[in-house]
Subunit: 240 residues, 2 copies
């Protein structure tokens, strides 16, 4: 029997380069709200999501692909873009068959770091596609990095809770000797029954709830409501 | 009434520069074992502890100060130095009135980063001096950074648990809106009753227990057994 693959949790993009991620699957986690919105758009039939890290690039790629441009700052659609970061903006009736060009900062930065560090595969995860992520990791039997996008490099709880939810499901299939993973699993176990209350204590909740996004945030921690697997391929996130 | 000072927890030296630490008190935390040993040596009457980040500097400072040189690698005293990193090596009968020149990597690095970033004061903390740290922070009414030394920049549980123990005691006196602090407080609350069992799950325990250091590690998570406050002053850690 070959040894189990290794799983690590990385709590901030700034800590990614401590780890050897060659030949690993990197799960980019940005629960509030980029990877929740990505899962939702693809679940609802978007052809692809193009993650970009600047408004200028978003506008340019939107023109090149005839895609929908999207991005928010301080809870409002960024000037020059057409839509926001809310998963609720992308029902099937609107997004099916279309290209979504999504500007995010934290998640996109981590995704590019992972590619630059030779990850063998990059997928995105959040509660809406929890089971799809777990099933894929178990099936692949490769080393895994659960990459929390954090907020401006600061540790955040919602990404950590998702990492813990994944570990809770996949732990029998991996070798896990990593304090970040132990902590994430503990935090998830501690709060899985009071998740909707607990996330109201997080820093990000306070930042976003001020913009009236409570329903969005509750959706983002609801398991399997958009249960597909986004995988990065040549600049696009597409369905596996 | 003036607003409460702000407290943040920093989970790795690599994340320190995200925070504005000017005019803040930085608590350097390296539970296994540097800051536990520092508290113990000063509690037992050491005149001062000089933290250094290299073996060469340790040897040179040892000569200049007629001090005791100390440092370990892989559980053994480093060649060229006289003693190890264990708090048990520094009873009053041995260390009273002497200078200890201590080589550490993680804790010393964080300490120098804090000084370079204009911290107003640097103190060291671990469970053996928990109450002294908390009393000082409450009395000073300044902004606080609880700085976890981590291990080669990787998040570790034992430093986080100590941060949580401090937060648990001082939270009424500070404004705390920081997911790292929320998590640390939760982890401490979850494990304060089973600390001696829980630390056996940590990565660092596995690393050090292999060298037969279990008694050392249990001492390092015992509150108030060396309850003094080490403060950094012109290259030395001394009693406040």
């Amino acid at each position: 029997m070959s040894p189990k693959p290794v799983l690590h949790t990385v709590l901030s993009p700034k800590l990614l380069d401590i780890y050897d991620i060659k030949n690993s699957i990197v799960v980019v986690i940005d629960v509030f709200r980029a990877t929740s919105t990505i899962a939702t758009a693809l679940y609802n039939g978007a052809q692809r999501v193009i993650p970009v890290d600047s408004v200028d690039l978003c506008i340019r790629m939107g023109k090149e692909t005839s895609g929908i441009t999207a991005g928010e700052r301080d809870g409002k659609v960024i000037e020059g873009l057409a839509y926001g970061n809310s998963p609720a903006e992308y029902p099937r009736s609107f997004i099916e068959g279309k290209t979504l060009v999504l500007t995010t900062t934290n998640g996109t930065r981590l995704l590019h770091l992972a590619l630059n560090n030779s990850a063998s595969e990059v997928i995105t995860g959040s509660f809406p596609n929890l089971t799809a992520v777990c099933d894929h990791l178990i099936a692949q039997q490769k080393n895994v990095i659960l990459g929390c996008s954090a907020w401006k490099d600061r540790f955040n709880l919602e990404d950590t809770l998702f990492a813990g939810a994944v570990i809770n499901r996949v732990k029998d299939y991996f070798s896990i000797h990593c304090d970040s993973s132990l902590m994430a699993a503990d935090m998830y176990t501690l709060h899985k029954q009071d998740m909707l209350q607990f996330i109201r204590k997080t820093t990000h909740w306070h930042r976003l709830a001020a913009y009236g996004l409570e329903a969005d945030l509750e959706y983002c921690v609801t398991p399997d409501v958009a249960n597909i697997l986004p995988i990065y391929h040549k600049g696009n996130l597409v369905l596996l």
